[in-house]
Assembly symmetry: C2
């Protein structure tokens, strides 16, 4: 799926209700290689029993500190003492596009900085290194008093969370996030060291990173060099990194135990059958319909010319990736057998809860969750906002000015003090905004707003001001200066007075929509809190019945997964665990060397120099999901043997359940990285720097 | 838009409520070149006043008899005494694809039969030549008695319609269709001579017929040789045709008065504001969502290989064409100014109706139409059926067996005796059905059925039988023999007994869904009749207020439109009325000679021989819509000067209203046809045959 959070990114913009609550399905822990484990609760005993391996505290601390999160959505690892960071090409793609121009297409053509001074600064990347985890459940829960309404409880939790984060930031200087785990049954404080001076060192051509394109995406066997390398700087110099991964001499081997340390974005394994039915019948069809619409829109935009195609590429990839992922998810849910198994497990748990006087307090949780689904269905597609970067900037400025007048604890979460630096980095990003693409997106979002509310809705009439969506969007875009970063800073500094005085069309539009944005936000907060309280009960019931040796649903925080390098069966045929560099040339020939199966010129030119039996991609049974893209795959000695970049098509239901039958994580083999650096890209110097 | 009814075809399969009722908007007749006029009610006076031209009865009879309808969806004309028929490449495309194979891609590579014996028979084409029109309004209305419910009225009309058609067929031997005009205020009997032995004579390459592809579709200036030539046979010999169009020496000229004789598929200009709001807020978003989904599905299928791409091409084109057309339509409706003008005109008419004691009987019609829209919204997306040719065949066989047990007058319209030959031609067509593409469509239609009804619906569970949509579709496809025409014939001949005894999985599935299909059909008949009665009142009110010198909405029957060859203004720049052959080479160069802007090899090879200033495409103000594709454009002397193939993007709102401001019909110039036949395709012999 190209497992980064691109799909979280591209979808998040119109999701009003993210899956609120998460915990692993009861009884599932028995499955061999299941789990996205918390670093402060690794399954040591299970690993010992099933794989005869016991991670020491030093081992896990080293792995944790060697792991890197791309805040833009993705995972990575430190791979040298000199600040080198290895991730996927498609995780870096956001930056590769931002530093590309019509004349110098770094995304398409690749890049290699032979010396430090040639490295290209990313305009708005923030990398996070997790340094500590602290359980703050008691303090968070203590803020919620009996008898509070859902809205009050939400506000109380938000207040204490902002307080904890602010205290932690002030006392440690680390980015501090309170993370909701186990559907709201646990709250942990995650502290991160931040790196914001990040520079591009090397990237291959998109043609080999994403060989086979949308057609091969989520397919296996694969032949993708989906990696690129950045370097973090501190005080203008390469950062000195203590914990980094060494390169394995031979990389991953068939049958080997491997670990994946990364940031899975979201799973929904705790979901009750009612929640899954809402996903199946309402939410996923809605999301897919949106993705189809957007994909066509971006394709059409690309028809306008080569430069338009380039500008649309990054988002188009995200849309295609999401569409394929969600299609796989709904297929899973539409299978009656799958749903029957979920219901059976749920019925069993509910019977145990009903039968046990101590657990009966949790019995109403499932009903509460079912009721919330109907409310979510009613609200589906109702947003107070429009799409496009400029509108988002305007809306952020408008909300921020108002929120900043409140005490920290009362602000909407995204405007709390602890996160201000990260927020401003995005808000004041100098990354290019393309007026033509921006207009296309913005106009279509107005058209969609008209569809969702109906043309006669008062808000619609206010937005349109007597014009059609396209004409009105053009008018609004013509009257805004928010493409200019200085203008954004001026408005942010001017606060509420500057916002109120602004004649900027987008600011005025965002102000007009502000009450609706807030109204929906409030409703959604209540729904989220109701759902969270219910899932916390479900989680507590599960803890009581099956114990606490389990893992929570994914939350885009650092987790350790493990598995075995292992092929599988498809249509009665064995699929081997690894492909080779030579296989890529064969795959190209099989498709007549046509787009998207054209290897870059450098690969053809270097073919004779290449060790063609070098492993290229491989599969393993580790439990991963979107957001894990770029995660290091390591062996027992914590050496890097590969880099996760995808799941196979059979893994697309892993949002809802894990299986090691035919679902597989797909990685770039570490040997392919070294071989191509040395013999395709003339980057032997960089290859030598890796692991040192 | 590539104005044939491909979009009617591709959409019709899931439309449960076609626009039932049609009449021109009141007061609109004053606009210079508006109107799709009935051949038995041509605007002679208006033409004389505005264009100083008065068509004689001989002139209009000659044009009518020279005009041809492609029953597959499109228009054409006889262009020689030897049975030659000229239409669009994209109207012929359905047949071009059906006679193509992986080895011999006639659609892509073009075709030319140098002699009669090389001409390729179309597997299932039916061409119609309109020979007479008779007003049967009185007889049809006489069948409906006061006090009948909508359902009873529908049945009564259907009965008398079947009776009239059967009598006419028996007495004349002509295909006989009762056509509903003016929203149900008038009923005319159309008689057609049918041609079912139709053979392909010449087609250019898809690359020049559809130069610029989906990107250039609906755009202008254009450079498309969107024509091909068939020949009709009778008794195994080329048919002797009395009325055919001669070729003009010079083709269309700037500023010239021209006529378009063709079969516009559907307009909705009579729609009330309530009906338009339903279109804007519910129906069009629903249709577009379906089209986006299908377009992605077919694109993905094409990724599987070159042969898959070929198989998917025809339907994919239809989907893209429809998506672009409907996008233009919803943009028009979302413009508040457009809707305001519609409402103003409607309010004016309603006031006149209220004020006039004789007209007050019609006053409730608008309210009735508004109420029906809510019922339509409820039913939107509810179908009793699934998609794919094989399922459609199964469903047709099942329904036909049951309907054939009833008297002719009581049968569903599509099973009435008068239309049996045409129905069987489709049902027993030997045209290829590709199992892989068929499975893809069928499986997706099951998935869509699950989405629409929800996974827990009893019908869904029956369809799925415990499997996911893809697995179940594969199982059902494996158990059917309906790909085999002989099997279909056997079941059709065996009647109800054969259907009941059949073990064919698709027959069994269609039988299981039959009650739901009939239930929805009944509801839709009632809705359609209610709407028709109301629109007949609106039409009568309009007749009373503005007179009867008007034209009804399009009904895929022969109409005469007229207009002027004339450029227009776009973004302040003049768009010239004509392009040239030389312009095509320039357009190719401007796009770097990349797909879809690559001229075929023959064009490059012939460039030196070509008169590059030959007009290629041109625009005129004639009032056309989808279904007009392939219509002859003729001059005052009834000579052929061009062939309609598209409308510009500004014309996409002509479903709802006509404008000659910037909306234009786009044609292939007759000189381009002759020049390319002679100097690109070595078909000078065929060029000579034209018009003789």
């Amino acid at each position: 799926m190209n497992l980064n959070s691109l799909f979280v990114r591209s979808v998040a913009r119109f999701v009003i209700l993210a899956g609120a609550a998460v915990i692993a399905g009861a009884g599932s822990v028995g499955v061999a290689d299941e789990g996205m484990w918390l670093f402060n609760a690794l399954p040591k005993q299970h690993l010992k029993e099933t794989h005869d391996f016991e991670p020491t505290d030093d081992w896990s601390k080293h792995v944790m500190l060697s792991s890197v999160r791309f805040n833009s959505g993705g995972s990575a690892s430190f791979v040298s003492s000199t600040g080198l960071v290895l991730t996927n090409h498609h995780v870096g793609a956001d930056t590769l596009h931002k530093v590309s121009t019509a004349e110098n297409n770094v995304y398409r053509d690749g890049f290699y900085a032979e010396s430090w001074d040639q490295e290209i600064p990313a305009p708005d990347l923030e990398l996070n290194q997790l340094v500590s985890i602290e359980d703050v459940t008691e303090r968070v829960n203590g803020a919620v008093k009996p008898g509070m309404s859902a809205g009050e409880a939400f506000a109380a939790r938000r207040a204490v969370t902002s307080e904890i984060e602010k205290e932690s930031l002030d006392s440690t200087g680390f980015r501090s996030d309170v993370v909701t785990l186990f559907g709201g049954a646990r709250f942990h404080l995650y502290r991160y060291k931040k790196y914001t001076d990040v520079r591009l060192v090397w990237a291959p051509e998109a043609g080999i990173a994403f060989f086979g394109g949308d057609a091969d995406n989520f397919e296996y066997p694969r032949y993708c060099l989906d990696v690129c390398i950045f370097r973090v700087y501190e005080d203008g110099k390469p950062a000195a990194i203590e914990h980094f991964l060494k390169m394995s001499d031979n990389g991953a081997a068939d049958g080997e135990l491997v670990f994946v340390s990364g940031n899975p974005g979201r799973t929904q394994r705790i979901f009750t059958s009612a929640a899954l039915k809402y996903q199946r019948d309402r939410y996923l069809p809605y999301v897919l319909s949106f993705l189809h619409r957007r994909e066509i829109l971006f394709q059409q935009f690309g028809f306008e010319g080569a430069e338009q195609k380039r500008r649309a590429k990054d988002e188009l990839f995200g849309l295609q990736n999401s569409r394929k992922a969600f299609t796989g998810m709904i297929r899973g849910l539409q299978d009656p057998g799958f749903m029957a198994r979920k219901i059976e497990a749920e019925d069993q748990l509910r019977k145990q809860v009903e039968a046990d006087p101590e657990l009966r307090q949790y019995a109403d949780a499932w009903q509460a969750i079912e009721e919330v689904q109907a409310r979510k269905a009613e609200l589906l597609g109702q947003t107070g906002g429009l799409a496009g970067q400029v509108y988002n900037i305007a809306s952020t400025l408008v909300l921020m000015a108002a929120e900043d007048q409140k005490p920290n604890a009362e602000r909407m979460a995204q405007f709390a003090e602890a996160g201000r630096q990260s927020l401003e980095m995005q808000l004041f990003s100098p990354a290019p905004i393309y007026p033509d693409l921006e207009l296309t997106k913005f106009a279509d979002s107005i058209a969609l707003f008209v569809e969702r509310r109906g043309g006669d809705h008062p808000l619609v009439q206010k937005i349109l001001a007597g014009k059609g969506p396209q004409a009105r969007a053009a008018e609004l875009m013509a009257g805004t200066k928010l493409m200019d970063v200085a203008e954004r800073k001026k408005l942010a500094e001017g606060g509420q007075a500057a916002i109120e005085a602004s004649q900027d069309t987008m600011i005025q539009l965002a102000r007009m929509l502000e009450p609706e944005t807030r109204r929906l936000q409030k409703i959604n907060e209540e729904i989220a809190e109701t759902e969270r309280q219910a899932y916390a009960q479900v989680a507590d019931a599960q803890f009581a019945v099956v114990g606490t040796d389990t893992y929570p649903d994914a939350t885009f925080t650092l987790r350790l997964a493990f598995g075995t390098v292992k092929g599988y069966q498809e249509n009665g045929q064995p699929v081997p665990p690894m492909t080779t560099l030579g296989g890529a040339f064969q795959h190209e020939a099989n498709h007549g060397q046509t787009d998207p199966w054209e290897l870059p010129a450098k690969w053809h030119a270097s073919k004779d120099k290449l060790q063609l039996d070098t492993p290229f991609n491989f599969v393993c049974t580790a439990d991963i999901i979107g957001g894990n893209s770029g995660s290091p795959v390591i062996n027992r000695d914590a050496e890097l043997v590969g880099v996760i970049f995808d799941g196979n098509i059979q893994s697309l239901t892993s949002d809802y359940f894990y299986s090691d039958d035919v679902a597989r994580a797909v990685s770039v083999h570490s040997s392919a990285v070294l071989e191509s650096l040395r013999n395709v890209y003339g980057a032997g110097k960089l290859a030598k720097e890796l692991g040192r």
